[in-house]
């Protein structure tokens, strides 16, 4: 689904390359990127669908207030992608609708 992203990186600030997996696809990000920034820079998304209408969404405020960037990051659903920094080998998938909560066995 990768396309030519409108998000261009500044040539300055070279940082170490970090490889993450987004929807099963390898994406090269930079150390210090948030997951949301890395996904946008790779031209991927929409990154979630809403629980109510199922309409597609993508990171918006990039500062933790709008909750549009929810993704499943390293197995944790409903995580704000803009609030988490990439780490090597991180697994990211998109959040589809409302998060499921497994019933407790108790």
């Amino acid at each position: 689904m990768a396309s030519d992203s409108a998000f261009k990186r500044l040539p300055a600030n070279p940082a170490d390359a970090v490889e993450i997996w987004v929807e099963g696809q390898a994406v090269t990000a930079r150390a210090g990127d948030s997951v949301a920034a890395a996904v946008l820079a790779a031209g991927l998304g929409p990154t979630r669908t809403t629980p109510v209408s199922g309409s597609p969404r993508a990171p918006y405020c990039m500062m933790g207030v709008c909750f549009e960037c929810l993704m499943e990051i390293d197995g944790q659903p409903n995580t704000q992608g803009c609030m988490i920094l990439v780490t090597d080998g991180m697994k990211v998938s998109f959040q589809r609708g409302a998060r499921d909560i497994p019933e407790c066995s108790a």
């Binding site: 629980p51 109510v52 909750f67 409903n78 609708g97 409302a98 998060r99 499921d100 909560i101 497994p102 019933e103 407790c104 108790a106």
Partner: protein
């Protein structure tokens, strides 16, 4: 001269002071009677329970020491659907009213027994007409599969429901404005002066001339009431609320402690604290709210919290509303209560009608809610 054309002056039939759920409900009801209404609100820094509440349209257990309050509450609950549909038709905003019954979950057998006794005595006081059921653990589990294994049971009220309180407030404002209502946020009302059988209300530098004035300013009523010969012995009572992330729908019914919104958000809370005018949050209370919620629904242990807040209830000494016209300055009314969501339909209905033309409600005695009861 028409004061409405003079800068800094407004004319209205009725001024409603306070643009929370109570003031707006009364204002909408007066508009139904064709009145020109101005709502005057203090603004964002005010204490505003209407922005911080739990959203229940709740019947069971309300009025355990006051049958008239139980009648008032039930009448409002019955009128709520029509009220909600009116708002949605006028504004297109779905306020998510659901009245499919509600659960009051009891963790222990003692709690359940006390609750049952309380509801039974209410039923007696109301001549047998008070529907509820007591559910033991397995009956409760049949309704809510995710209920915790240590929960004793619940009481079930078929008349209970809930609503999205923020959409409600927004819809009320929009409808009010669409019908030509004036919403003035020109500073807090500092003075109400009776003039020529009417009133002049001073808000900031703005003057509003009107023939009636309704005090619906929540905790602000306390200071305003004496200016028109009324008495509003109100105290703040803090409630803290926890909001968790949106998750798959698992809870069909509102409970007194946990509810799930139409979008899937979890709202928890029911603390009652006497801490003055402090609407902060405290870790110990939030932890207790969370622990109780997890005991009710163990799956909530896996759910993350996204925010919390405190808000102040508007409390009279006996917890019941005050609906009163000033004897000294007829045309001035005090309308205040602690369950402004539940009672919104009654405020827009029989209470507004009484302010409009003095007609007494059929279902409950207004006398019960006279402020005189506090000055014996």
């Amino acid at each position: 001269m028409n004061a409405g054309l003079t800068p800094g002056c407004t004319d209205a039939d009725v001024s409603v002071i306070g643009g929370g759920l109570v003031g707006l409900a009364v204002a909408l009801g007066l508009q139904d009677h064709g009145r020109q209404v101005a709502v005057i609100d203090e603004g964002d820094i005010a204490l505003r329970a209407s922005r911080g509440n739990f959203g229940l349209v709740w019947v069971q257990g309300k009025g355990d020491s006051c049958p008239d309050y139980a009648r008032l509450t039930r009448q409002s609950a019955r009128q709520w659907r029509r009220f909600a549909d009116g708002l949605t038709d006028a504004t297109g905003i779905d306020i998510q009213l659901s009245q499919v019954g509600g659960l009051y979950i009891c963790l222990t057998e003692e709690e359940l027994q006390q609750r049952q006794q309380m509801l039974s005595s209410m039923r007696d006081a109301l001549g047998g007409d008070y529907p509820f059921e007591v559910l033991d653990h397995s009956a409760l589990k049949a309704r809510v599969r995710e209920i915790g294994p240590t929960v004793a049971g619940a009481t079930w009220g078929p008349e209970d429901g809930h609503v999205n309180p923020l959409f409600l407030l927004r819809a009320m404002v929009e409808r009010f404005l669409k019908r030509g209502g004036q919403l003035l946020t020109c500073g807090p009302v500092s003075r109400i002066t009776p003039v020529n059988g009417g009133f002049e209300v001073l808000a900031g530098d703005h003057r509003i001339g009107c023939s009636k004035v309704v005090l619906a300013a929540g905790l602000g009523n306390k200071a305003l009431a004496p200016q028109v010969g009324l008495f509003a012995p109100l105290e703040p009572n803090r409630g803290q609320v926890l909001i968790a992330e949106r998750v798959r729908h698992f809870l069909d019914y509102p409970t007194g402690h946990v509810r799930q919104t139409a979008e899937g958000t979890i709202q928890c809370g029911d603390s009652k604290e006497d801490v003055g005018f402090d609407c902060g949050t405290t870790t110990d209370v939030l932890a207790a709210i969370a622990a109780r919620a997890v005991r009710m629904f163990p799956l909530l242990a896996q759910v993350r919290l996204v925010r919390s807040w405190g808000a102040l209830r508007v409390m009279t000494p006996d917890g019941y509303p005050i609906y009163q016209q000033s004897e000294q300055y007829p045309g001035a009314y005090l309308v205040t209560c602690h369950s402004g969501v539940t009672l919104a339909a009654a405020h827009a209905g029989p209470i507004a009608t009484w302010i409009e033309n003095g007609q007494q409600p059929d279902e409950f005695s207004l006398e019960t809610f006279h402020g005189q009861r506090f000055s014996v």
